[in-house]
């Protein structure tokens, strides 16, 4: 008599989120944009939001974000994603609306739009990729570039006398009454990536629970324009960026704490 072999319980523990398309991204090796995308897609899957989500892509290296997320998407003008998201959310208040923006996009050209979206308490979620540089245009100085850091437009290192100091967005936005959730996380190692994911989840929960504007700033790498290898780039985040941009919770609505 034949016996059927007992199959070990096979469980899928890692797969492509439904909220992702199966395209290969165009990001450079060692770039953390891809990790940030994946975290957002996983959170949207886990919260079951895919079918009602509308993403707003920026102008920057993530301009093609809409190709990688398997959901409705629009592509904003440089810096205007929060205004576009406002327009969408105001006419479709039941949908989940999020922007994904770089530091040039959000903290330079789009400064007015992000501040006022937060001030109005727009119920949107913002994923803010701070890589201290303009990636897409070939490595110019960003408002978040560190003092002394060499870029193509600060070739002798950012001179604070000439071009000022890094802009800290979480600290600024945490002063806004309309903000429900403002935190800074980093993507430089597995532990921090897990913490980043939890924060992204809370940022979407802020929106779903109608608690106002939510932003997660993610310290990210740009090995290509920093001109170092991917491994050194992660160290650069931990050693050089974190001291200037301290990780932490800058504003968390009481209701999110329980």
């Amino acid at each position: 008599m034949m016996t059927t072999p007992v199959k070990p319980e096979i469980q899928v523990v890692y797969q492509r989120p439904d909220s992702f398309t199966d395209l290969t991204t165009h990001y450079c090796p060692g770039c953390t944009h891809g990790i940030a995308h994946r975290l957002v897609a996983e959170v949207i899957d886990e919260m079951g939001l895919r079918e009602k989500s509308i993403g707003v892509a920026p102008v920057g290296c993530s301009v093609f974000a809409y190709k990688y997320f398997n959901m409705d998407f629009v592509e904003a003008a440089h810096g205007r994603a929060p205004a576009m998201a406002t327009g969408i959310k105001r006419v479709l208040p039941k949908n989940t609306v999020f922007t994904y923006q770089g530091d040039g996009d959000l903290a330079s050209i789009g400064m007015a739009e992000i501040i006022h979206a937060a001030a109005r308490g727009e119920n949107i979620t913002v994923i803010f990729i701070n890589n201290a540089i303009y990636g897409m245009t070939g490595g110019q100085m960003a408002p978040t570039t560190l003092p002394g850091m060499k870029t193509t437009s600060s070739p002798f290192g950012r001179d604070v006398e000439l071009s000022g100091y890094p802009v800290r967005m979480c600290e600024i936005l945490a002063t806004m009454e309309g903000a429900g959730y403002i935190v800074r996380r980093s993507l430089h190692d597995a532990k921090h990536i897990r913490q980043a994911k939890k924060a992204i989840r809370l940022a979407f929960e802020t929106q779903e629970r109608g608690l106002g504007f939510a932003m997660v700033e993610l310290l990210s790498s740009c090995p290509t324009n920093w001109e170092i290898n991917p491994h050194e780039a992660l160290d650069f985040i931990a050693e050089r960026m974190v001291p200037v941009f301290p990780l932490g919770d800058y504003k968390v609505n009481e209701e999110l704490k329980h």
Binding site: K52, I54, F73, A77, T86, G87, A112
Partner: protein
Amino acid sequence: MAKELLKGNEAFAEAAIRAGCEGFFGYPITPSTEFLEHMARRMPQLGRAFVQAESEVAAINMVYGAACAGKRVMTSSSSPGISLMMEGISYIAGTEVPAVIVNVMRGGPGLGNIAPSQGDYYQMVKGGGHGDYFPIVLAPASVQEAIDFISLAFDLAEKYLNIVYVIADGNMGQMMEPAELPPMRELPKEPPAWAVTGAKGRKPNILSSIYINPPDEEVTNIRLVKRWLEIEKNEIRFSEYLMEDAEFAVIGFGTAGRVATTAIRAARQEGIKVGLFRPITLAPFPKEQVAEISRRVKRILVVEMNSGMMLEDVAAAVQGRVPVEFFGRMGGVTPFPDEILDEIRRVAANKRPVNWNARAEWIARLEQIVAEGK
């Protein structure tokens, strides 16, 4: 509904609401502000979206977002504010979503002043923002026309997935005039198939103006040009007054056209056979109609409240068949009927050819008029 005494901007705003506008995003600027103020009161009452944005840059990008969501949305502003919107307008055009923009024009360039002007003709008619696109431009000459054209603007914007400007000036925005508002339209139950509303039970909808591969962009450009040719075929609008037997034609739009009407009536009493051709769609421009007029009149006088902008479109259509002369006031100055009557008399008596520079001849006359304190 009967005629009532309506204030320009408020009537335009109410007309937009009745035409089914579901989102208004704007920033205060004279002489358009009452539009925004009316929306601030009425839109929340009706459960529709209203945001006073932090700038015109933000306002137009809110319009862009809400338009992508498939709603009837608009903004209203005045010249400097419209300049600030140009990047967003180009994105809207490149994404092929509908949007209605009311420009209550004022004197410029720069901060200029808040008085009525038609100085944005080039910016409105020729595009204003970057890249190859063609906005539709409707130019009302009365409060009633503005009311009617705002409804029409939404319909055209949606039919052609195009930007539609309704351009008024401070005169129309601020005047009280008897007019009739349309009844309230029902809002559509279903969003258009292309809108971003959440990819439930369908493939994701992606709305963007990026075509990184030039041949793909060119395919889009071809589509936009073909759409424009279609618009040129179907949507030309104009109005004529005493043109049947006219030997001289005055061509003017909006307020300038309206003021010219009074002058033409007076000229007729003096026996001058003059009529008015008033383009309503400045884009698409009624080229063939102007060409046809130039085959049956002796001379054409273009009247504008700018430095002779539509003049160039008229001259292009006339192709030298008859002399085209120009009279304009600028800087927020509205011409009086008497001034235009003087010009009609002069043009009717003028036998000289125009030396291809109507603008140079006019500016000399204008300096004289200004020197005389008129």
